[in-house]
Amino acid sequence: MEIAQALEVIWAARWALLAGLGNTILISVLSILMGTALGLVVGLILTYGNPVLRFVVRLYSDFLRGTPVFVLILACFYILSVVDIQLSAYEAGIFALTLFCSSHVGEIVLGALKAIPKGQTEAAKSVGLTFFGTFFSVLLPQALRMILPTWVTTATEIVKASTLLSVIGVVELLLGVQQVIARTFLSLELYFFAGFVFFLLNFAIEKAGRFVERKVAIPS
């Protein structure tokens, strides 16, 4: 009976929960896309930048990776308003997750570019390719394949971290569920439900990642 009752409650609250899920997906997608774009730049500077630029970006990356995401979210929401940058909870949350994502992607990109043997660059140079030609035709296609599995893991980390935005009042899936619990007191069932939905989301991401990995795999 308990399960039937829980399902009934979930069904009754379906629109609110779907709105929460929608927010979770939107926040995650935006953070991952912007974080990846920024992360590519971070990775390129860490690999090819001049020493001063590299030092600055290294500090940026180390600082962000050494800070809990939760602290980062609170900082973006509360501290930025002190210096007169007014962001909504939604914007501040996405901003924090983007920064967090960029530092991780930056390190992954750095690692991948460093892992490509020097002979690849030399062979590209020997057929007259410039730096850009070498990068886009030879290094990037190989680096992206190496990055993919770790990048997928980072993406699932962002989806999980998006739940922390509930603390600053963003109604994503977790806060949506908590609001239903506040009305119904079915905490066990509904938290289980939330966990299951997050699992499904990340499972889908992992599967999609594997699919792309197989599609772009180099025949050998």
Binding site: G119, E122, S126, V127, G128, L129, Q142, P219, S220
Partner: protein
């Protein structure tokens, strides 16, 4: 006499405090095949890599077809050329590497096409036809759609040779083309190189295959301690070495 294909004058190269090339002079005319031999650390590979500026050099001049590679003189000072200019100059020479360095994410034919399309600005269908011709020449046409990971070492090296030579370079540089190959794969690659030599290709080779150097070269250069120790036609150099160092080297190479 026409402009030499390669003219190296008083070339010096340092790695930090260590001087690895201590004043090299070498001239090659069109169609010359020159082999560089010598023990490890004698500077053979570094010399080869200075010719297409995979290594910068500190002093002296390397000129391909009369054009100084990598630098120009301005008010008595040497100034490094811009990246784009250097890229253009690198395409004047073709190079193959000890470890082939094929692009693993591209099929054999796309490996050969890359330089033709990106550097020579050849239309794709023309590049495809050119690449196919050269793959055929090295006996790899039937494997043109294979990826490097699906080819043996010898096959990969043959594709690498096609990739370099399809660019129609003034000069081919071969850096120990067979030293990473299993013994049974050496001959197929050497046969390709010999064929190119017979066609009149100008070639500078670094090799540990003494018999091959003897058979294919017009001239052999023995390097020791960053200098040219001895230089001459293969018969003279291999059968009547002047220095004890060369005699000892040939003996240790079981020639």
């Amino acid at each position: 006499m026409s402009v030499p294909v390669l003219e190296i004058t008083n070339l010096h190269k340092r790695f930090g405090d260590v001087e690895v090339l201590k004043g090299i002079d070498l001239t090659m005319q069109r169609g010359d095949v020159v082999s560089l031999i010598g023990s490890s650390g004698s500077g053979k590979t570094t010399l080869l890599r200075c010719v297409n500026l995979l290594e910068d050099y500190e002093e002296g001049i390397v000129a391909v077809a009369g054009e100084q590679i990598g630098y120009r003189q301005q008010n008595g000072r040497r100034v490094r050329l811009r990246e784009r200019e250097i890229a253009r100059q690198r395409a004047m020479t073709g190079m193959t590497f000890q470890h082939f360095n094929l692009f693993p994410h591209m099929s054999a034919i796309r490996n050969v096409m890359l330089g033709l399309v990106r550097t020579r600005k050849m239309p794709k269908d023309e590049a495809y036809a050119t690449a196919e011709t050269w793959l055929d020449r090295v006996g790899m046409k039937d494997r043109k759609d294979h990826f490097p990971g699906q080819l043996s070492g010898g096959q990969q090296q043959r594709v690498a040779i096609a990739r370099a030579i399809a660019m129609n370079p003034e000069l081919m540089l071969f850096d120990e083309v067979t030293s990473a190959l299993d013994p049974e794969l050496v001959s197929e690659v050497l046969a390709v190189v010999k064929g190119l030599a017979a066609d009149g290709m100008t070639m500078l080779l670094v090799t540990h295959e003494m018999q091959f150097a003897h058979d294919v070269s017009d001239r052999v250069v023995f390097m020791q301690d960053g200098r040219i120790g001895e230089e001459g036609p293969p018969d003279t150099l291999f059968h009547n070495p002047k220095s004890e160092r060369l005699a000892a080297f040939l003996k240790s190479s079981k020639f």
